[in-house]
């Protein structure tokens, strides 16, 4: 039945807008904003369909006839570069890497540091934290202008090529982080930053010895976390920092991004070397400093845990103020569930990710403990970073209790911005 509806929709659309892949599944590839508007307006007349923005990765887990992928692959043009204003306007299908390549000849790049393969569309949908958030601000802060369409295909905009704006409601805030439930962006203006005269992107291997010889004791965690805090205070040109541990590799690592003028970065590098040597002298491990930019990029890419298409993992996003995050890391260091987790902490963004792979998922009761500790006792927030499949989640995670007003507002948002229910599950 739904297949017939889709076929009717395809026939109703202008030629070239609908595509059919090798498996006979339909997807859409608008080449301009007007085509996307036509798609939304036309599809809205066929109940039961959902349009799913393709965030740059294959959609593997939800191939149903009623869920129709929309690719931004052809909406990836640069609209305008204002290098003198440190602004770039692009279509959201463009990747971070493409934007940085365009900016490079002007000695500029995006301030937020994300893996090159990420599309702007996915960043808008997910509002990801990043390594350099402490120095350049959140992703929301990078967006100065946006043009978008509601679920009914109506155009709206906010801001533009100006770096400051309070003209009307913040429609960027409506879209960023909303998982495209209230509108679809078609053009975005972003701030850029100058590429510093000198930059050093480094990986510190904090514990490269055999894990069995050096268990993750609270004392060790405490040392690491405090040492990172000291390091942050000591480096004047530090632009970004992340602390992480992957179970597949051994030990904790730290990513550092330093940049500035040559005569300010060089003293920092000397201080960093001294810090590593001091840590090495005190601790039982060998602490290494890998200054290869490729190593940094490798890890940055590996830490892209909220990448679409990876929904088979359980990934929690834990937002905590810095002091409470340190307490979390130290306090839970010996817990089995913590030991089984990959962990990534952006101290400046106040965000920590915990990821488990099958079959080491924590029990529902353990998840309940995490949520209770974070939300009820330590002023934090736990959310699911990606939608897990076949995992027994406690209600606190699956259906978090929120003020009734939020539910009302969300309902009205969907009613008003996606009246045909195309951009998500029906309200």
């Amino acid at each position: 039945m739904i297949k017939q509806v889709v076929q009717q929709l395809v026939q109703a659309l202008p030629e070239g807008l609908a595509r059919v892949d090798a498996d006979d599944f339909v997807w859409f590839g608008p080449t301009e904003a007007a085509a996307l508007a036509t798609l939304l307006q036309t599809a809205g007349q066929y109940p039961g369909l959902t349009l799913m923005p393709d965030l740059g990765q294959p959609i593997e887990t939800d191939r149903r006839w009623s869920v129709l992928p929309v690719s931004w692959e052809l909406l990836n043009e640069i609209v305008r570069l204002r290098a003198d204003e440190y602004l770039i306007t692009v279509q959201p299908g463009m990747t971070v890497g493409e934007m940085n390549r365009i900016l490079a000849p002007h000695r500029q790049r995006l301030g937020t540091l994300y893996p090159s393969s990420r599309t702007l569309l996915s960043l808008i949908g997910q509002d990801l934290p990043c390594l350099t958030q402490g120095s350049v601000g959140s992703f929301r802060q990078q967006v100065t202008g946006i043009k978008a369409l509601t679920g009914a295909g109506e155009p709206f905009k906010y801001g533009g090529e100006v770096v400051k704006n309070v003209t009307g409601y913040d429609m960027v805030a409506l879209l960023v982080g909303s998982r495209h439930q209230y509108g679809l962006p078609v053009e975005v203006t972003l701030k850029t930053v100058p590429i510093p005269e000198m930059e050093r992107r480094l990986v510190i291997d904090l514990q490269p010895v055999d894990e069995t010889a050096l268990p993750s004791t609270p004392a060790l965690m405490s040392t690491f976390v405090d040492e990172i805090k000291n390091l942050q205070a000591e480096l004047n040109t530090l632009k970004g920092i992340a602390l992480f541990r992957l179970r597949a590799s051994i030990g904790w690592k730290c990513l550092l991004d330093c940049g500035g003028w040559r005569n300010t970065v060089q003293p920092d590098m000397e201080r960093l070397q001294a810090w590593v040597q001091a840590l090495d002298a005190r601790g039982p491990g060998l602490h290494e400093l890998d200054c290869e930019a490729s190593a940094f990029d490798h890890w940055l890419d590996k830490l892209d845990w909220q990448r679409p298409g990876q929904s088979y993992n359980l990934v929690l996003k834990v937002a905590l103020p810095t002091a409470q995050a340190r307490e979390f890391l130290v306090g839970f260091a010996t817990a089995d569930w913590f030991d089984a987790a990959d962990c990534l902490w952006y101290p400046d963004a106040g965000v920590m990710y915990l990821r488990w792979r099958s079959p080491n998922y924590p029990y529902s009761a353990e998840l309940e403990t995490i949520v209770e500790w974070v939300e009820q006792h330590h002023d934090g927030l736990v959310t699911l970073a990606v939608r897990p499949v076949n995992i027994d989640l406690p209600d606190t995670l699956a259906q978090p209790k929120e003020p009734e007003a939020f539910e009302r507002w969300r309902y009205r948002l969907r009613q008003l911005y996606d009246p045909n229910g195309l951009l998500g599950p029906p309200v």
Binding site: Y86, V162, N263, G350
Partner: protein, 525 residues
């Protein structure tokens, strides 16, 4: 500065005995005792808040009839001064029950008429909610009630080596709640960002009377960024009663430079070059000669005479970084015709320069009783072009215009001086303002960078947004405030459909006709 005294024209159909007030030349009426609330309703408010904190005497209400935008006046029916969030919620619930509008107000330093109850109703003054509840130096945040004055918070956190970055010129009077409502900026937001970038969480009384926390100390959200959506919504989505704000470490080293230019174009060229160089100053302010002399006469800061423009440039950071930036700044300035370059040699001099900059509004008061201040933002590369237009407009309309603005952000502040008693001058001032705004929009600018749209600029919104775009934006109001009772008639031009105030005789206020048209059609001037 003096209030504007409009020339009343009795409107057809309005009962004699009603008192008139004027809102941009449009008449609104109130009942003879200056309140539209019944005795029973007033008593209910008194019971909830205490007699002392419900104000309804006309002479007292006059205090609340305008904000710092002296073009617009609208006395409230009644003013309430709650002390707690529960009291605020009680008042809002009563307003819901009675279907009457409510308007939050901080210190009344707003510059767009945002806190004026033009549809009548209850004005909720948050000034008694003025406690700094917590300073958490470890997590670099503070929890404050929204009536806390911006400068008080900075005074409180300074010993911890921290500061609250948004610093509007009115920071010694304006409140954090007002800053949240307008998404206030200030001199240092060039580097540190505006209010929305510094708010982690808000306790809000919703237009339907619920008390909820948006965000929190964690600064995160589930799928909808309520905090960023609320900040800058000008009290139309509810009333913020507490805020959790970020605090920023005070930089190790700060240096302020004063550069004087014989020609405006040289100064704006330097601004573009400084921005393009990636130097990243923490402040970059433009002061024209007219303003510099006014400020100098008032504050004696020694601004150079004969220069068309002065730039105040602040560099901050680690001492080595500031030293490096200074070398590069001087190299840039050497390529322009700088008639004088000096820097504040100590903290006192630095503060004096900034106080003088922030005191420009007061300095204008020595020249003319009032001024009409615009707040448009343009691409910085267009500064030379638009300043030239402003100069031409001043000449064409025979008005005095002082320019003192956040050049680094492209956030213009043309101050058009006027004497409210001179109605012919008033007409020229309003027309000049409109021409300037249109020029800014013409180069890709926006209407406001930090003052908000309020009432004063609402009728310009349709010059920036098409009807569909405006309608889509307006829906956000309906999400939070389906009854349209929270600060109605703001932001959007007439016929908004958001507010359904019960005062049919105040519908004219919501008509929001263009100023020029009103002046011509209704014989106000």
């Amino acid at each position: 500065m003096h209030a504007i005294i409009p020339q009343p024209v009795w409107p057809a159909g309005v009962p004699k005995g009603a008192q008139l007030c004027y809102v941009i030349g449009v008449m609104a009426t109130t009942t003879p005792n200056n309140t539209c609330l019944s005795t029973q309703q007033l008593n209910a408010l008194r019971q909830a808040l205490g007699k002392l904190y419900v104000l309804d005497k006309p002479e007292v209400l006059k205090t609340y009839e305008c904000d710092a935008c002296l073009l617009i006046k609208a006395p409230p029916d009644v003013v309430v001064l709650p002390r707690t969030v529960e009291e605020v919620a009680t008042v809002v619930r009563l307003c819901n029950e009675w279907r009457i509008p409510f308007v939050p107000r901080g210190a009344g330093t707003g510059l767009s008429g945002g806190a004026l109850p033009v549809d009548g109703g209850v004005l909720i003054g948050l000034n008694r909610m003025d406690r700094i509840l917590e300073v958490d130096a470890v997590n670099r945040l503070a929890v404050v009630e929204c009536g806390v004055v911006n400068a008080w918070l900075n005074r409180e956190v300074k010993p911890a080596g921290l500061f609250y970055a948004p610093d509007p010129s009115s920071q010694t009077a304006c409140t954090i709640g007002g800053n949240v409502a307008e998404n206030a900026g200030g001199i240092h937001c060039l580097k540190y960002g505006v209010t929305t970038d510094h708010v982690l969480g808000l306790e809000v009384v919703t237009p339907e009377g619920d008390v909820v926390w948006l965000g929190g100390r964690h600064g995160a959200y589930r799928h909808v960024n309520w905090v960023n959506m609320f900040v800058g919504s000008e009290g139309t989505m509810g009333i913020a009663t507490k805020a959790i704000v970020k605090l920023t470490p005070v930089p190790d080293s700060v240096k302020v430079f004063l550069a004087a230019f014989s020609q405006t174009a040289q100064a704006t060229g330097a601004v573009s070059q400084i921005i393009a160089s990636g130097l990243g100053p923490s402040a970059l302010e433009f002061i024209d000669d007219f303003t510099a002399q006014a400020v100098d006469a008032a504050f004696h800061v020694g601004f150079p005479k004969g220069a068309e423009a002065v730039l105040l440039i602040e560099l901050d950071g680690h001492p080595s970084e500031v030293a490096e930036k200074e070398v590069r700044l001087k190299a840039i300035l050497e390529t322009f015709e700088v008639s004088q370059l000096r820097f504040a040699t100590n903290e006192a001099e630095r503060l004096q320069l900034w106080q003088a900059r922030k005191g420009a509004a007061a300095a204008y008061g020595r020249i003319m009783p009032a001024f009409y201040l615009h707040d448009c933002v343009i691409p910085r590369a267009e500064l030379t072009h638009v300043l030239h237009i402003i100069k031409t407009v001043a000449s064409d309309y025979e008005v005095l215009i002082g320019n003192v603005f956040h050049a680094g952000d492209g956030n213009l502040h043309p101050n058009i001086l006027f004497d409210p008693a001179d109605s012919a001058m008033m007409a020229r001032v309003l027309e000049a303002g409109e021409v300037i705004l249109k020029a800014c929009l013409g180069v890709g600018g926006v209407l406001s960078g930090e003052h908000g749209i309020g009432l004063e600029k609402a009728h310009f919104m349709d010059q920036l947004f098409g009807p569909v775009e405006l309608e889509v934006m307006k829906r956000l109001k309906r999400v939070f405030d389906p009854m349209g009772l929270a600060n109605p008639a703001k932001i959007f031009p007439a016929g908004g459909g958001c507010g359904e105030g019960r005062h049919s005789n105040r519908e004219a206020v919501k008509a929001g006709l263009p100023l020029k048209q009103l002046n011509a059609d209704q014989g106000w001037v």
